[in-house]
Amino acid sequence: MTNLDTNPGPSPRLRLTGIDKAFGATQALRGVSLAVAAGEVHALIGENGAGKSTLMKVLSGVVRPDAGTMELDGAPYLPADTLAARRHGVAMIYQELSLAPHLSAWENIVLGAEPHRLGWLDQKEARTRARGALARLAHGHLDLERPAGEFSIAEQQVIEIARALLTEPRVLIMDEPTSSLTQADTEKLFAVVRQLRTEGVSVIYISHFLEEVRQVADRFTVLKDGETVGSGALAAVGQAEIVRLMVGREVREMYPVRTPQRGTAVLQVRQPQGEPLALHAGEILGVAGLIGAGRTELLRAVFGLDKSVLYVTTPARRWAEGVGFLSENRKEEGLMLPLSVAENATLTKFSALARGGWLRTGGIEAVTADWIGRLGIKTRGPRQAVGELSGGNQQKVALARLLQHPARILLLDEPTRGIDVGSKAQIYALIAQLAAEGRAVVLVSSYLPELFGLCDRIAVMRRGALVECRERAAWTEPELMAVAIGAAA
């Protein structure tokens, strides 16, 4: 293995050597090295907390390193802030989309770099530039006047990339760009990334999806506990080797071995037209489809979160019936980030845990401490604010809410979005165990390997309807995609 081979060529576009960074007592980065050539897509791999985001913050000028050197095209590079980094041609696309939702697409694209004469916005020029940037990304058809918030997540991402392109970046950092994209949109994004590569832009690509990384990246660097543990050409190493570097141990099987069992029907998944789909106890039912196919809407209707003619119910009634829902939007809907782990995990049971309306903190913390142990949630304790935890641990808190309730039927919307490989494997094991205990699970996911690895049956949605449901063994990935995009008919 080309261990610690950080040399992509004689004169790399970007070279980091011996970067140290400590926050208080925590050493976030220790002697990290990274080298990226011009026109190279470089995958930065590592578990959550491995130091990837800190390293990217150093690169994009958000934090200054304690030690080490950075060179950009051979010249010393130490940006004072994000603006300075952008001026040097280092731009970053964040995982959480950062658009101003009320502003139009073109205004978002030129934001911070508006063409103007003495403060007067040159709208014509601004629109021209915005359209030009979108055209480079093969998205010239997007309506420039529409508010950014009204576009699909995939389109919003393209708008963000277009914004970065406006500054003619030499290095473009993409943090988990596909975590909210469907397979088809991911393909489109890859086309965009390849286009950037041919134009000589260096792309640093951060992702948890190893299969995906292989498709798009040339070289890789693995971080673990703030140190560079491996680097080299992706073609030269196997998947298992990268995973071993990441977690420092062999992860033999990502997905648990299950013996499917199907009990009595516990829930009818209804839809406007066609037969309802029965969900059985002990079953994991996958729901696949493109973004916008209506998968989330289906779950929300079942749970009574959104009004629907098919279900007359409310979330409160659903919880009372033992139905639990896990939101795809952890930060804005799923969890109350400033509140404690305990409050988040037990919110559905407040009235049961209270005495005469008086909620005993000790009571909910004791209940939660139990689940922290059982799910292996990494936290200082039940009182810590959920917002301070890593994505994977936040998701475990959200799951703990369903488990302590306890829910018999679990509606899970993208349960592993944006969390690291190690946590994913744990969550898969947990879901399998829940099904083995006889609970019924509906799993909505945009990540096909996860659906194939975990589910008993997979249903495909297209344009708001469940178009086909088969046993897992009766599907292949290409077949499923064909049904999802409507190419089969």
Partner: protein
Amino acid sequence: MKKLLSKFGPFLGLLLVIGLFSLSGEIRDYFLSYANFKIILTQTVIVAIGALGMTLIIISGGIDLSVGSVIALCSVVGALLIQQAWPLVAVVLMVIAAGGLVGLLNGAAIAGLRMTPFIITLGMLGIARGAAKWLANNETVNYDASPLNGWMTTADPFGWALPAGAWVALALAVLTAVMLRRTVFGRHIFAIGSNEATARLCGVATVRTKILIYALAGCCFGLAGLMQLSRLRQGDPTVAIGVELDIIAAVIIGGASLSGGVGTVLGSMIGALIMAVLRNGSQQMGWPTYFQEIIIGAVIIAAVFLDRLRQAKRE
């Protein structure tokens, strides 16, 4: 259709309010007369000019509670300068500058010290009011005569001419609307209100922009103070208590969102007119003031509720 509705929502509200008062046969003739229209317009001037500044602040996701106190302070400053026989131009500039200075302090504290606008301007509400009373020696500041006195009246109340103050408000409204739509600064106000983290990320100088927003708004409040002075013809440190709430209400009725990113000058102006028409109509109906207050409160809640419905439908 929905877009049209959301654009003309406040306008329909205004027509509705006018229509309701016109139902009463007793007051209809006078209520709909041009003379009364002039009175309403003149009564709107102070709230309207204040609402222009407040529109900037609310679009940026902020709030300013100190407006009433700033208006009083500025009217006292103006009265003192007239007493000292300063020329009109200098008085006007100094009063506007006084408002701008208070706004600058607000903005510097909010953006520089990263404190919430609510707290800072709540503090300024007390400070400016106290300063006004201090400057005025806790009594009204009187002066003989000033050309300023003619700004809020016309020689012939039944003639066609509008008072100067109304023209000033109108011109300023056009200027502010253009600034919000067409300048980089204006669009940055929307960007900050829509998503401040994004704006900062994109290199928008958020601190400087926010300070400028409050300072400019302060200038508007100073001008509103000048109009107050012109109307009362004396500097009164206890005037305009609670006016900030009318101003905020006007901006919200006009379709702005308190969470930022949304709002228009036209909407705010119509909002200010709605409030003035309600007051004027209620007075002519002979309703007691407490009844007017209840009605205006209900209208604010109804306007925001309707706005919510409109937003929900669009989604």
